[in-house]
Amino acid sequence: MENIVINKMAMQRALTRITYEIIEKNKGVNNLVIIGIKTRGVFLAKRIANRLEKLENVKIPVASIDVTNYRDDIEHDKQSPKKVSVTNDNISVEKKNVILVDDVLYTGRTVRAALSAILELGRPRTIHLAVLVDRGHRELPIRADFVGKNIPSSQSEKIRVLMKEIDGKDLVEIIKN
Amino acid sequence: MNFKFHKVLIIGGGPSSIGHENELDAATFQTILTFQKFNIETVLLDNNPFTLTMDLLPDQDIFINEINYSNVLKLIKKVHPDAILPTLGGLHAIRLCKELIHQNILKNQGIKLLGASQLAIFMINNPIKMGRIIKNIHENIVPSTIVSSRENAVYIARKIGLPVIIKPVSKHHSPYRQNCKNFNQLDHALDNFFKHSSSHQCIVEKSIVGYKELETIGIRDESGTKILISGLENIDAVGIHSGDSIIITPFQTITDPEYQKIRNATFKIMDALRVIGFCHVQFALDPTTKRFFVTKITPSFSRSITLAAKATNYPIAAVCSQLILGRTLEHVSLPSKYSHLIPIMEPTLDHVVIKMPLWPFDNVPKASHHLNTVMKSVGSTIGIGRTIEEAMLKALRSSQFSPRDVLPSMQNLSDDNMINQLIHPRQNRILVLIEALRRGYSPAELAELTKIDQFYFYKLRNLLVVENEIINHPLRSSTVKAAHNSGFGDGMLAETWNVPIEKIFDLGQKCHSIPTYKAIESTAGEVLNTSSSYYSSYEKENESHRFKSDSALVIGRGGNQLGPNTAADYYTAQTLIQLHHSGYQTIIMNNNPNSISLCPKISNKQYIEPIQLGNILDIIYLEQPKIIFIPGNRHYLVRELSKRHFKIAIIPPDQETGVLRDSKASFGIDFFVTANHCHPISTVQFNLKQPQQLKLIFKYMAPLKMSSRVIKNLTSQAINEIKSSSEWHGLVQALFIHNQNGNHLIGVRPLKITETVFLNRVTGINWIHELIKYYTHQLDRNKLIHLLEHQEQKHLEMVAKFPFRQLKVRTKNGLDSQIVGAKIEPKQ
């Protein structure tokens, strides 16, 4: 059974609100760097950056980060060194206000891995976390600063985020197993 | 701007027919102009000779051929377009495109689909697909279920509520459908059905007969910005095809929340179908529950879209042609006569537009005169006014062919017959409704009988109040004023009071009831000087001013009827184009929303007015044109205007002035005749095997297959006859009979309108332009001779089309007064 919990309009509104909340929290957009986590976090990051640019007429640096190698819950090949793959090589996080973006916040392990990866790149002034969906069930002491929607869920359920850039449409649905 | 495509194939609309006049040509014309502006090559497949589009493109980009799948395919393989535009060729073009998608042609050839999405194309004529789309966006469709047993059918009928309609399940359109108002009728219908149907399945559908029918026209750009151009309210309820309904815009009898719901539903549909460009949606509104159902979605150009464009003067075709190219509404650029704000402002009107259909029953008496769900009208006229009464009467007066401004009397209609016609409507419906009011029926009774909103009967009753005043208080200024405000024509008053029309002018002047012209524009007066189209009303402010330089007034043909009308409209359009080249400010007066001659692109000023003597004189007094062009068959008008010493030219020429010694002919020779010279142009063959009745000629072939020596000889015979009379000038045709005794000249007549256009196609020379040059004393004979000497004649055949199949009439031979259109094709 599928159940749409965020439709296209609601997703747009959530991103709009998060954008404004970022401005509120950071007192503007100076010194901001937005980093999206793997696939959909990157699209969200780009959308937020695009919104900020339209409002404030400044260019916001965006990078993407693949944290697969940093996950502590995945067995790693001991031979291959841990490697952060940040797409935008020119990006510097040193003394920046970093907004880390992901689609769903669940156990917190992905975010933890991303934090490690970012801290390896440099020493940001702050790191804030923005997520489209917070579904609970944290296994680590991590919380989001900007949340699109809290969707309390059971662990048997699956939350699926679809985005136009990759899935052809914008929506979030709960799939009950 | 960079485009992903450079060569677009447009599938044309083909010959005009019932439901299709010149509106597709007008839209295609605008679209190609846009494409040319952006250096996009257009390739056109079409076989309708009466189109301006054919004159717009270079020869190598027009493919004159039957519009069918194999020809489209051939053309794709030949010219390799990188995009295809199927939304300007009616439903036929959409169907062809559907087939191209099915066969993977678009995908394999890398051809981009423009205007409509694949989803939209697959939805057309597929109620199940459409139903799914509508349900996905949480709007309603008319409940219907497929059943395979009587019991099930009755169960479903109980569930959705009577009345229901029983229809067979079939891939092809089946005319069988039965409206069941009670269970007895349902039993009977099911008996009948299951006895005769092989499939043993039928559809039980909720009957929406009697619901209010509403239409919307929306447009959408690539970024998802949408505006609602117009809402069209059908005065006739569901049950009469919207093409046969009297239509009013803007909406009159619904509340704002209802309107907003319909607007939102239209937008959701356009989003779901990812429409880029225009979309037409039809709704049925249950008058008691206020629930509405989506009944039809048409993402291709149609007469409804043209009506919306004419009513608002929003340039739908010009804007959408840019949206198709990927521009957003915010960045569409229009010709300088429009404000740059127009494309993105949602139209808001301060006038009323009413469309009145025209039926072909006078020309095709054998057809059933009853109006129902199958469209029968061949044309329409619009009336524009500041009030509903004014617009209604102007539309009605425009729909009368005679310029004497007299409405047919319904006095002799028996009461029984009248009631019959109220329930089973026929043509002249509006006059019957008025007559019923005249005989004392109340609006409530009539609303019950006809399912027309009571509101309109109150409005019609207001007209009767004025009518009574006209009868009881003749020749008073106050009466003239009241009559003017309700849309009565000066000619009507003159006729009723039996005085010359000038007397009515005088009475009007005395009480300052003088026509003022209001711009037809889409911002309710907010944006100034953004329109060149006007309608009259008797008010305070006049917005139309006389041109500073010489102008020419062209009187259009009015509503389309059977006969050479679509060709005549093309003729009128070409007249305007040449007059403009000749240095005139051009003014067109017409009232057919589908006509190409009203397209703002091809004239300097447009008046949408009844073609009635009073209205014509009003415009002449205001504009003081140097010359007035009148269509040939308007003898009364010609007489009345000549009497007042206006300089007139008869274009297209009168067809009835031929001097013929036989009623049959086999072939003809066409000439261009000036005061001193007679230039042969081309030969044309009707039927060499057997002479044809002139009125029954439906096939033309050019040039004639005969030895040049014989033709030379016949030509000089004809020249002698033409020169013997001073009457012949302009385009003239000599007619011959071919039989065992040889070829005999039977006489001379003015070249027919349809044949003139055919001649243009054959010779590649625009003879209408030459004719206008001749009339305006700008003809250069040397240039003409040069043109004639260097012409490259094409071998073409033109075949007239008749509407008999659509009207369900069995007739073999159509008269030329029954032509609905024509097609041409190359012949060897």
Partner: protein, 366 residues
């Protein structure tokens, strides 16, 4: 029908026919160009003390129905139209427009070239007008001598608090001349609403512990209201998510140190494209605008421009840089007009939820 006159401050007189009441009235004359929804327009308190010119071709067509009130106590000064229909065919109608206007002592005049009148007003700017029986010098003198009130808000807004109960979020609506559309939208979203008078102070508001605050639309100039209103806004916006519309939007701008200017001619229609800057999304909404926020003044304020009219480039929406507070110049709930932006109410409620989560997580921190 009796002859009546519409006279304008600049000396112009229009002859027409009377309908509605035969009272002689004076008010500011404005043009409304919506094509439908005359009842909503006539009953919107924003038009308090004004004479409304309708450019829609014909009004009265569907009578008066109970669903179309934007307020029950109508206080306009007159209706000017080209054509008036004294009929009601609507299923719900018990009343014709003529009856309705007579009951409320509001005069109407028909047979006016409203298109010309609209052109005239656009050219010569906003002005006073009267509906009179005789257009003589005396009438013009009376008109010119009349001083229009600047106390519109206190005349139409509720003097007493009242609840509009629901089961959801606790919303306080500050009434500057509330239209029902706002309450309908909150009801649809199950809000537990309390409407407070316009002159309530911030302490009284915060004592009620609201989840969010709405500043309503209303009539007149924001400059005519006392400074205490701005103070109230400054205090509450720091504490509670806020959403302001129309007059509320203008006050929100002033409270945050932006300034306003008066448009040459009021704009009352819904045909202008409004662009949401953050998404480039274009929408249409009912606009009833006499003032506009000054572009220049935004630079010195703590506000971000969120919406802009693409026709006249005026600011149509603002958001505070530091607080979850935002405003729009237009009416997102239509009445009449498009509901393209009605989900601004959802945006507001989502702001509240987000704010509540933050508050609770802040509490966790301490």
């Amino acid at each position: 029908m009796a002859t009546r006159y519409l006279i304008l401050e600049d000396g112009t007189a229009y002859q027409g026919k009377a309908f509605g009441s035969r009272a002689t009235t004076t008010g500011k004359i404005i043009v409304n160009s919506n094509m439908l929804g005359y009842q909503e327009i006539i009953t919107n308190p924003i038009y308090h003390d004004q004479i409304i010119v309708f450019t829609q071709p014909s009004i009265g067509n569907i009578g008066i129905n109970h669903k179309s009130y934007e307020s029950i106590s109508t206080s306009i000064k007159g209706v000017v139209t080209h054509e008036y229909s004294d009929i009601s065919t609507n299923r719900l109608s018990k009343l014709s427009l003529d009856d309705f206007l007579k009951q409320r002592n509001i005069p109407g005049i028909s047979g006016i070239d409203t298109r010309e009148l609209a052109h005239h007003l656009r050219k010569h700017g906003a002005m006073k007008a009267s509906l009179v029986d005789v257009a003589d010098q005396h009438a013009f003198d009376q008109l010119n001598a009349t001083v229009l009130t600047n106390q519109q808000v206190s005349q139409v807004a509720t003097p007493k608090p009242y609840p509009n109960p629901g089961t959801g979020l606790n919303i306080i609506v500050i009434d500057f001349g509330l239209k029902h559309g706002i309450l309908k939208q909150l009801s649809e979203r199950h809000c537990d609403t309390i409407v407070l008078p316009w002159n309530v102070d911030s302490k009284n508001i915060l004592d009620l512990d609201p989840d969010g605050i709405i500043l309503s639309t209303g009539p007149g100039s924001p400059y005519d209201l006392p400074k205490s209103v701005l103070k109230m806004i400054q205090n509450v916006q720091k504490r509670v998510p806020l959403f302001a519309m129309g007059l509320g939007h203008e006050l929100f701008a002033l409270a945050n140190h932006a300034s306003l200017y008066q448009l040459k001619i009021d704009y009352h229609n819904s045909s202008h494209p409004i662009k949401e800057i953050i998404t480039n999304h274009v929408l249409y909404a009912s606009q009833n605008q006499e003032y506009s926020v000054d572009n220049q003044s935004i630079q010195n304020s703590n506000l971000i421009v969120t919406y802009r009219d693409l026709v006249n480039r005026t600011i149509q929406g603002l958001r505070h840089r530091d607080y979850p507070a935002f405003s729009v110049q237009f009416s997102p709930d239509g009445g009449p007009g498009p509901t393209d932006s009605v989900d601004l109410y959802d945006e507001f409620l989502e702001n509240i939820s987000s704010n509540m989560n933050k508050r609770s997580s802040r509490n966790d921190e301490f």
